[in-house]
Symmetry: C3
């Protein structure tokens, strides 16, 4: 063989190596041989913890789960009240407005504005010895949420724990698993607290730790409330043993701390407890509950070997070889030291060939018209690197 031939052979060998690496990479790293499925999930939660508060209006008071988890059960979420503004003994009545209304002039007529807690009657009545405000038809006395308790009323919620039970299912593979792993016994479960380092599979979380893991300060967050994500990631390779498919927990704050770009920062909502006295008159305790809502967000993908994606990806992979060919050509013809030699070789030949075929067509040989056409059909193989690879693929 001539040295020029050897060089071309080497080029071809390099090309093949890159091809094989590419296919391996796409195939193994991206798991191209697997069918995938998205997770279907079900979550239940249980909060534990008791705290004692002592204020002048309420006196000493114990708060347990039935008092601070509202509503008592939700599907993928749990709300723990950390701060509260109680307005006791509200009745349907007429009374003076409070709060932001204090600085507004008392104007009548503007019925039904959403910022007012009731319907304005148009009258002005004394709010206290010095100020008059608008009279409203409302649940009276009207809530004064201007002063939020600080530190948070239920600041000990930091030590409450939440047990998360999560059951996942991959419908395509009919594979289901629970976040309480079969390797964990009930004694461990009764005492453990989740810790990313020491107890990564304990499903019981201390509220303070969740908030801390998201880079937030619990006591700060407890004042105005907020929304936390407790994320459970179930990325599973079902070609391996089921015991390798385990949950990974992470934590993130979901609401906007930046009060400049938000309305009603934090997280709160209002609800009421209704009472009736002996006359049958209804009264209520209005509760403006600030607190942390923990959204349990479950996501993940499972993959399992399946012949269809394997073949499709092999197909794509093989087609991809065309790209490798182009890349090799570019490297060899434009980047390598001996590129001028290779290039000359490659393109010179094309010219040669064209001349040859031109001369051939000028001198038509009756018996060989088929062959000359065949050569023309093949000519793109040699005309340029791009065409070359396109024909090949």
């Amino acid at each position: 063989m001539t040295p020029r031939r050897t060089a071309l052979k080497r080029q071809k060998k390099n090309r093949k190596k890159i091809r094989r690496l590419l296919v391996l990479w796409v195939f193994l790293w991206e798991k191209g041989y697997q069918e995938t499925d998205s997770v279907v999930s079900s979550v239940t939660t249980k909060v534990k913890g008791v705290t004692l508060t002592n204020t002048s209006t309420l006196g000493p008071r114990i708060w347990d789960v039935a008092d601070y988890v509202i509503p008592p059960q939700e599907e993928n979420s749990v709300f723990v009240m950390t701060n509260v503004i109680l307005t006791l003994n509200q009745r349907q009545d007429r009374c003076p407005e409070v709060g932001s209304a204090l600085i507004l002039p008392c104007v009548g007529g503007s019925l039904h504005s959403p910022v007012f807690p009731g319907i304005q009657t148009g009258e002005c009545i004394p709010y206290n010895n010095s100020i008059k405000t608008c009279e409203v038809l409302a649940w009276c006395p009207v809530e004064d949420d201007y002063h939020i308790p600080k530190p948070a009323f239920l600041q000990e919620a930091e030590n409450f724990t939440i047990l998360v039970k999560n059951n996942i299912w991959y419908p395509k593979f009919n594979f289901s698993k629970r976040n309480i792993l079969p390797t964990i016994n009930s004694t461990y479960l009764k005492n453990c607290i989740y810790d990313s380092q020491t107890d990564p599979f304990c499903p019981i979380f201390r509220l303070g730790k969740i908030v801390e893991a998201a880079g937030q300060n619990f006591q700060e967050m407890a004042v105005e409330g907020g929304v936390m994500a407790l994320q459970i990631n179930w990325d599973c390779n079902l070609d391996r043993a089921a015991s390798h498919c385990v949950p990974k927990y992470s934590f993130r704050r979901l609401d906007n701390k930046d009060s400049a770009h938000t309305v009603s920062p934090g997280y709160n909502f209002r609800f009421a407890k209704y009472y009736k006295d002996t006359n049958g008159t209804e009264s209520r305790t209005l509760v403006k509950a600030y607190g942390i809502r923990f959204d349990i967000i479950v996501f993940g993908k499972a993959g399992k070997f399946d012949v269809i994606p394997t073949m499709i990806n092999i197909g794509s992979g093989l087609a991809l070889f065309g790209v490798a060919t182009v890349l090799c050509d570019i490297v060899v013809l434009y980047c390598m030291k001996k590129r001028y030699y290779y290039r000359e070789k490659k393109y010179k030949y094309v010219e040669d060939y064209e001349l040859v075929s031109m001369s051939e067509s000028k001198v038509p040989s009756s018996s060989d018209s088929g062959e000359s056409l065949k050569e023309d059909e093949e000519s793109p193989h040699q005309m340029g690197i791009l065409n070359h690879s396109f024909e090949e693929t």
Copy 2:
């Protein structure tokens, strides 16, 4: 060159143009170079609005958020009561049935049918001066939900507003964003109302407008209730600046208006407020709440450049060139004006070649058996357009 050759060359050029357009189309239009991810979302809502009702049984009464939003908080949903049937002072007792039972004969013995509000004792007792109905063990008096208030009791709910805070996250790209855009300041947020034309990014929605945007009539819907979808679409191209990734709101009615194909049209549910008198006897107010449930449905996909899908799609695209070849052949050979010329050209050659190869094989040239076989290997290239393209790909 002969004119026949020129024609074949032109055909080949057209083919290549179509190929390039195809790959561009698949690639750019379908964003074949992007890895995609599905949205993970968290939603909080806050309703505002107060209304006054005045009925003979209740007298003047103010309704605020704590009265008409039930339960006070949900994960991706909020229910606003628009109509209500109250049954006051229910006690555990024996009493006559009402409602649909009025037209049924009073039959005893059929214990426990789900359509009755209680357990039948088997006795018949007077319901009023003229009618007797079955006696039931139930919370008495039994609810009479035969006559739904019309217009809706809380018809002013049309003017209530709902603030939707939505936080989305694309786990694969670790990209998160809120529907309260950073370009919006808090002054704007305090006064704006969503409008698809003037305020497309205001996260505060007037209930009446939501229903109207879905092509429904609020006052009609308010009577029996319904379910509305407030859809937030987060289709994001993360190759562009994050500021281009914005929510798109749309609205749709989810329940079936067509009462012929549904049971219990609209949307309602029952709950009770429990009271105790001084003797400790429990009574309750049964509330049959009709209203509109707003489901906040968040969906969308994000795409970002990634080398793997790029290569896989280039691979598929290149393989696709084979299809383009076939299409070109079909166009050239069956649809173009000069098709007879091209066709004759193409197929005539095949026959020629077959004859040649036949004659060649009949006259075996000992030194050239390899070459003749090689030609045979190539022959499908010319035998027909389909085979041609298959070999090529």
Copy 3:
């Protein structure tokens, strides 16, 4: 033609057949010509049923929907209370602990442990005539949940029914449908009960049947509660008529029966009903509600013909032909009876050719350098089966 040639032709024909079968399989079975979309869903539920209980503490008592569905409405879920531990007339007070504390020594000082229902004062006080337990600040009397009622208090919940209304939507195709099919009339809906054999499209489910269909025992499950999945599968081929897109129901238990690997088996939560006496002193009834939560899990994919995935899959399919070629070669050369003949044929030729090309290159013919190079370019086609197919694809 020589017999050797005929054999090679047959081999080639077999190869093509396998290729075509493969492409058909991938294409039709896997619906490679379809664009797919995931389901967006909205669910409402309505439970019906009344039951009567008769206990010494409560007397005869009727339980209806407002009593046992808690909270009254949820988004994709409904909880039906089947068992209950009521602690009546709790007040904020000091009282002795019960339950697990009975067997623990009464130790003071350990303030605030989540397993206790209150805050320990450090005192020991008589619980009954024989035992002393720790005194706690709590809602007194403290709940004694040591003895769960068995059989379940509301065991008749087995006969309650649940109506599930599900509206699905495929955003990409703007296709929406309800699980109450248009072919079903309201008379049927008023009386039907779902049965996988006789009434597969009736949206009303008997609780007992759901649990039974999941292979569980309702009365057993009712005691400690549990979580059931009511799965609705909406796999739709939108190339067919919309009437073929129908829901498929299935049932599964989601919580862990195996008490060794779980904490707080079953499903329960606590909530309270608050009362006020004439002095304004608050009392509450603590309810520990055991029951079955039915999670309505909606999943599915819709497919519809679309030109892009069609072309991408044709591309991949064509590329896949390379794989078919390799498989054919393997079958023909290694598995078939006449394999020795084919093999010899194939490889013998290569050697021949190599010798020929070697001799050619040794005797350079000035006018034909182009052709000899061309042959070299082609040579991998014959050098080995693997290289052969790679070049071709």
